[in-house]
Symmetry: C2
Amino acid sequence: MSRKYKKMKNSQLYKGSLNTIIMKLLEENGKMYGYEITQKVKAITQGELNITEGALYPALHKLEAEGLLDVEIEKVDNRMRKYYKLTETGQKENVNRLSELEDFIRNMQSLVNPSPKLEF
Amino acid sequence: MSRKYKKMKNSQLYKGSLNTIIMKLLEENGKMYGYEITQKVKAITQGELNITEGALYPALHKLEAEGLLDVEIEKVDNRMRKYYKLTETGQKENVNRLSELEDFIRNMQSLVNPSPKLEF
DNA sequence: CTATTATGTATAAGAATCTTATGTATATTT
DNA sequence: AAATATACATAAGATTCTTATACATAATAG
């Protein structure tokens, strides 16, 4: 019964980007555990994106089930940690997803920031 | 019984961005009808993002119900068109959403393209 | 010292958004 | 004459997320 009310309400825009974020962070850091990922994301985005456990853990389990992540359990200070890292398949898939993300960002910028109409 | 198979499977990344896209296009073009929006988006993204009717029409109806869009029916060539435009509230809300989108893009770039670690 | 907060994982119920599949109808092109 | 393009609409199911719990230990605050 800890877990104080944390009203986060991330922008809907982040919906669908969690898997890509997880995989990119794992690529970058080698291995990470769930709680560490939430803290890292919060730090990088200066508190703007707060990944909830209810979203994170199912996502990690799914990526593992799909063979994109490997898990390795450690016990630190008597507390359990599940370290995740990309499998080889995961590394290949990560390349695709980052490429998709670049396309996505480029397309969103085209939509929102159209090249100005030329005046004659 | 037309409707040829159109397998689109947009990247999950676009999930959550439809409302923002709609409102931005309406701000830019004054008024648009549904089908026009799908074609415009396809053109701008060079075919990479294909908005489905099953997503678009419910989204338009919801934005209208929320008071962000106004609708105006016209008949062109004996075919119905429902033109949508931003209400005043919608214009204000659009500013917020575009600002959220900028933050989102910035954050995603930070996550994916971190500033290189300095070496000493 | 005891209550809260931080660290750490997990799942279930429900909301929100989207894909896929239809349905209806007219205009245009093949 | 048939297929495609234009134009709207909704329902079923999938996916992803929020919110609310649950359990457990370590560290900090009052």
